[in-house]
Amino acid sequence: MRDVAIIGVGLTKFGELWDKSFRQLIAEAGSKAILDSGIGGKEIDAMYIGSMSSGRFIGQEHVGALVADASGFSHRHIPATRVEGACASGGLAVREGFLSIASGMNDIVVVGGIEKMSDVAGATATETLIMAADQEWEAFFGVTFPGLYAMIAMKHMRDYGTTKEQLAQVAVKNHANGALNPYAQYQREITLEQAINAAPVAYPLGLLDCSPVTDGAASIVLCAADKAKKYTDKPVKILGSGQASDTLALHARRDICTLDSTVYAAKMAYKQANMTPKDVDLAEVHDCFTIAEICAIEDLGFVKKGEGGGAIEKKITTLDGSLPVNTSGGLKSKGHPVGATGVAQMVEITQQLRGEAGKRQVKDANIGLAHNVGGSGATCVIHILEAI
């Protein structure tokens, strides 16, 4: 298997982008990544696009070819494939691109992730997102994602003594990081009081425990590692790539407080990278809700099960903590254009490892981890990166 490196990254501003279309967003992110990488269009062997539900959000399917077309490559007839795994679509697209280079089939692959969510009303967005849960056994009964994650939070609070204040501290931290990210949807800090007293959504989750509806796109250029130095002085190598699945329905799990897909994908990625959680300097984790970040740092092995809330309280995961988590602002503050999120996490880790993260730069960052989840944990994809 060949080594694979990231040689270019691109991101659009995240937010309610009323005046930008789906194709404008992906073309912007893709062209930024291509320019950043220094490759020529003729060198692209394939494209992989992560998008969760373009059909429901903008009435457009078949977006693999659309993205190649919108990027100006229709005349080159590049193989372009759309990958779907709910909110993990972006991470899965990265993994498919990685596998296609690792296999020797391709040398240079452009990966994109995108979602244009604000063209539909809030209720339609919620209905669309719940299709990532089990329609027959969950959604038909009226549950929404805030409801599912609230159940996880309730059990976490009961079993491990996690508090609503600790949940709120995740949001406060991520907003503090997002305030330093010029691409974030919410570039402002919030107070603990605001987070605790925000309008209730599904107890114990309030409005500020939930990631928003967002428009945005992200892109990275992947290259066979032995050829990466030809294009950039700062390639970032993908040391490990892990993916795992689990039951679609939350109630069918062994333990609803543990995302086994994260545990298994992490095991796969750590093994491939020949690393342990202790080797990781910073991580972007899938904080679609504040409780999800607490579960993530446990399931990734950064802290023991049940100690995630305490770790937040001890400020281990703040920007100047021993393991900064979600330096970009995370899904909570940076925004969560579902199909783009997994790719955007790779952009953040790459920028951190290159030392290009500006005010939110983590000192001496060598190893970074990106953790992208689909649904309530039926899919998880994890990548471990290193600056070379």
Partner: protein, 349 residues
């Protein structure tokens, strides 16, 4: 040529009120938070016998009571509303007949969401300027609809204001008017639908704020003025937050906008909103005062006006009709049950 502008004005606000907290409690919401979030304490509610026609007639009569204009000299009536009582049959003819302005009269009903009243003022100003008519009557009035449980239910209210436009005894000259218009579908009501639909947060930045601030900036550039040149500024007020934010974005102060900001006390009177605000300003204005008005109508557009109050305002018998402040105070609270009954929420076939 003599200056053209406002010769007289009048307004009408139904006296029934419902508190925003009372509506919120029906829907299980935190009333204080909703009220604070919207910047609205209570809203006016039309009774069963009040509609856009009656509000328009009351406002027009108030305007006539204050001045010496003979209704027979009114050559045009334009009424802007989203709640004309008839889909086909003009409100303007009812008002024309009621005030004695028929039959030598141009009439048409206007609709441009919340800015059709100011569009009527523009039309009347042009007709007076072209010497087609001696006086024109422009009215913005609404009994606004909102689906039960919709966010609009906290603000949609009833009221209106009437303006007689002419070039004799002008109390406030309309120095310039400018409109900023695009096709922006932020709020709409399809034919034969009882309640309007809206694009949620899309009604903010790309709709209200873009049009209001663009219109205001462009108008000030055309007439060569700055925010500090005005004594008063009125912006369309769908809630208490938007006009304050728009004012701040443009560089106007709270002192300039508070007299014309009536939405906290009566809600959003839609086509009446900015014109009731202007009436509130004219209730206290002195000769020489400069007034800046920017309306907004979803769909979308803004009409801007650069206005100067003249010495003639001293001769207007303002006391012959109630002021906006008096109408705000003249109120009777109702609960949600009565509100539901009189606003036809309990409609069945």
């Amino acid at each position: 040529m003599k200056d053209i502008g406002i010769v007289s004005y009048g307004a009408n606000i139904p006296r029934m009120r419902i508190k925003i907290e009372d509506i919120a409690s029906v829907w299980g919401k935190n009333g204080k938070a909703v009220s604070k979030g919207l910047g609205i304490n209570e809203k006016s509610v039309p009774s069963v016998d009040q509609d856009t026609a009656t509000i328009s007639v009351e406002a027009a009569r108030a305007a006539l009571q204050r001045c010496k204009v003979n209704p027979k000299d009114i050559g045009a009536i334009y009424i802007g509303s989203e709640s004309h009582p008839y889909a086909v049959k003009p409100t303007g003819t009812i008002v024309g007949e009621a005030i004695g302005a028929t039959p030598d009269l141009m009439v048409a009903d206007y609709e441009f969401a919340c800015k059709a009243g100011t569009a009527g003022i523009q039309t009347c100003t042009a007709l007076v300027k072209g010497d087609f008519i001696k006086y024109g009557l422009a009215i913005g009035a609404d009994t606004a609809q909102a689906a039960p449980g919709d966010a609009l239910e906290f603000s949609a209210s009833a009221g209106g204001a009437a303006y007689i436009i002419g070039k004799e005894d002008v109390i406030a000259t309309i120095n310039h008017t400018y409109s900023f218009t695009t096709d922006t579908p932020d709020f709409w009501r399809r034919a034969e639908r009882k309640y309007p639909s809206h694009g949620g947060r899309f009604t903010g930045a790309p709709a209200y704020f873009k049009h209001v601030t663009s219109c205001a900036k462009n108008l000030m550039e055309i007439v060569g003025t700055k925010p500090e040149d005005y004594n008063y500024a009125i912006f369309h007020q769908p809630n208490g937050k938007f006009p304050i934010k728009a004012a701040k974005l443009l560089g106007f102060t709270m002192d300039q906008i508070k007299q014309g900001l009536v939405v906290p006390f009566i809600g959003n009177t839609y086509s009446g909103a900015s014109l009731v605000g202007l009436a509130s300003v004219l209730d206290v204005a002195k000769p020489g005062d400069k007034v800046f008005l920017t309306s907004y109508g979803s769909g979308a557009g803004s009409d801007g006006f650069d206005i100067t109050v003249t010495g003639k305002i001293k001769d207007l018998a303002r006391e012959k009709a109630p002021t906006i402040a008096q109408m705000i105070e003249n109120k009777e609270y109702i609960d949600y049950g009565k509100y539901a009954k009189i606003t036809d929420l309990l409609f069945w076939e």
